[in-house]
Subunit: 338 residues, 2 copies
Amino acid sequence: MDKQDRPRRPTISDVAAAAGVSPKTVSRVINNEPGVRAELADQVLAAVSKLGFRRNTMASSLRSGGQTATIGLIIEDLANPFYSTIAATVANIARTHDTHLITVSSEENPELEQRQFLQLCQRRVDGMIIVPAGSDHSYTRPEVEMGMRMVFLDRPPSGILADSVVIDNAAGARAGIVDLLKDGHRRIGVVIDSPVIYTARERLAGVRSALAEAGIPYDDALVRVGVTNPDEAAHAVATMLDGVDPPTAFFTGNNRSTIGAIQELYRRDSDAALLGFDDFELATLMPRPLTVIAYDVQELGRAATLRLFERIGGDTSWPSETVIPTHLVQRGVQLLKS
Amino acid sequence: MDKQDRPRRPTISDVAAAAGVSPKTVSRVINNEPGVRAELADQVLAAVSKLGFRRNTMASSLRSGGQTATIGLIIEDLANPFYSTIAATVANIARTHDTHLITVSSEENPELEQRQFLQLCQRRVDGMIIVPAGSDHSYTRPEVEMGMRMVFLDRPPSGILADSVVIDNAAGARAGIVDLLKDGHRRIGVVIDSPVIYTARERLAGVRSALAEAGIPYDDALVRVGVTNPDEAAHAVATMLDGVDPPTAFFTGNNRSTIGAIQELYRRDSDAALLGFDDFELATLMPRPLTVIAYDVQELGRAATLRLFERIGGDTSWPSETVIPTHLVQRGVQLLKS
């Protein structure tokens, strides 16, 4: 369709002309301002309806210096079920506040996170929920000082004070290891992400604390860090099982590592116990038993979003940290037959 | 922090005052317009840097009537891995076009889909990708006539002509059934969503076409429609296995039904063959063998997004339908040991 043929989107001026009133009057009616005579308001509304005028929400809110009714969410990777569940939760709560959500992926890259933060500021989002990739968030200070609200999710920020919502990582890992120790395990292989990452660092600390309390010396042959995907986890498990005095149990630091461990343990028909941080939907159909350290992912997203809307609403209280509790759950397909 | 204490975000006027130039000059420098003396431009840039001025992207683009550098994505449910993979793909491509993505969930509700469509129009997104929940999209016509670009994904629209990107549903289902027939199966249970839904309708048509060609009469005791979640699928499989002359194989119409079927078949130690539409990440760890009808989900998202950006870029060609091919893949944990 040729550009000249396309109907032009009606403007406030068009409505004013059609209604026989001034553009200022149209504007006041659209914005529900008081002081417009009822019959004029009716004329305006009739013209609006007839012309199919749809107020440009963005333009109006920016002209009046109001909120954009958008919030931003910076996460690692939308294709990861942990993050997509969080995004879904955040979007649903935002909708109840008539707010839209823009989700961006930082891919664990601090530079990308910073660029996206600044881009979201440029588009004047009302606030942001951030799963930090970087370890220094002082770059956010100028925007925070000018009114940008932020809540950090899953990992706290560094270099600034802000609200955060995190999982009880260390305590959860600790409780899981205590459970393995109760079953008599002494050699426990640990497969985890880089300690540069807060969640991995905390979980490793929980593991080490439980082992230390049980008098089990730290053996770095039983610890593989920097594991970021299932294949690396499978490889780590294989190496440890092929080593001297192999572990009789494994702790995997997140669901990606758990999956790799299941692959390798199943392939070898291994009896080793498996304890993994993070529940996941198909854990109930995994081909061998495992224990997961579970928590309510939706609650993580919900707590962060509600906090953000409190801030957007004008809450200026001191930054808070909300901790989401964990619990142990048995998983694996053998449970279907018991 | 008290509102009065908060630094006001610097405006073009502030920059002009700091640089000793007119606001018009500042505007021209910010917008990279030609004709500004180099030394004046330097003064402006120095003031911008010093004041921490960040151009309000949204306000600028709307004032000039330009694009908002945002696109919308309407899907069923962000927590479903099929949709989150698509959202991740769309967001990544959008980023290469310096565009942000707003994702909204319609929850298969046509009214909600319509409301969200109109809300996205109100915020002047440059275009939208829509997985339709409804069966009548004539409501979009006024907006399309005024320039809104749309690409439909996974299901075509009704009541309007628009680009669409769909999976080769009927052919994929057909090929899967032909494969089961080759293995000697004659009684095949079908577990599928409502035929009101395009993908379910097409897949069922493919199944029926393959059975008809093999001379197998349609037996509606072997077809359960309206199945929307794993538990319903498990129940459907159980009912059919408990019936007279039970099926020796099952076809499940999507990954949610496949999961329910796996649960039930595993629980009963059933030898029945399982053919499911949709691959999924943990299909490789499922506790019993299955065949999946697979396709490239990212390609689905990619094709739709690229088409949308062609439209945003001014392409006015006749609407196209892109069909994503399928192929059969063996899954299940037994493959790890073969």
